[in-house]
Symmetry: C2
């Protein structure tokens, strides 16, 4: 594996390397409709809204979460196949 490929894969695991981000993914995935807005996520994590938005951005940038704005709300949902794609990064090490 060359350095470029290693950095690419590491960037995904970096997004997963925080307990609060793992909890965000878990909550989004188990939410009804498979989506949740920021206001639903601040309270269970006991974090401020800017911090939650920051974590969500990292997960979106990593290709794990999808962001869709409807009205005033921003709804986050899992990117289809993201988990499988990530496990593939491990299995093909």
């Amino acid at each position: 594996m060359d350095d470029y490929e290693a950095q690419l894969r590491a960037s995904v695991f970096k997004a997963l390397a925080d307990p609060n981000r793992l909890r965000l993914l878990s909550i989004v995935r188990s939410s009804e409709g498979g989506e949740a807005c920021v206001c639903d996520l601040t309270e269970p994590l006991n974090l401020g809204q800017p911090t939650v938005s920051h974590h969500l951005k990292i997960l979106v940038d990593a290709g794990l979460l999808h962001r869709e704005k409807r009205g005033t709300w921003a709804y986050y949902s899992m990117v289809p196949g993201a988990i499988e794609r990530t496990t593939g990064l491990l299995e093909s090490l």
Copy 2:
């Protein structure tokens, strides 16, 4: 997922969240005999020996690598089932 479980899982992904550590796993896994010593690993990564030892320790602490000392050398190999266990951490999010 509670905070404790999230921290436990995040600690594994933290070990994977570095390109050089991913390359270490890749090299160890593809080495003949499934093991490699530190001296085989410093050159392909272009890192100093203390830095490589440091990364290896992190991978051992995460339960991904196994360390076996034979003579002056320390041989590192994948922990059997470690990859599968880690992908399980993702699939059960």
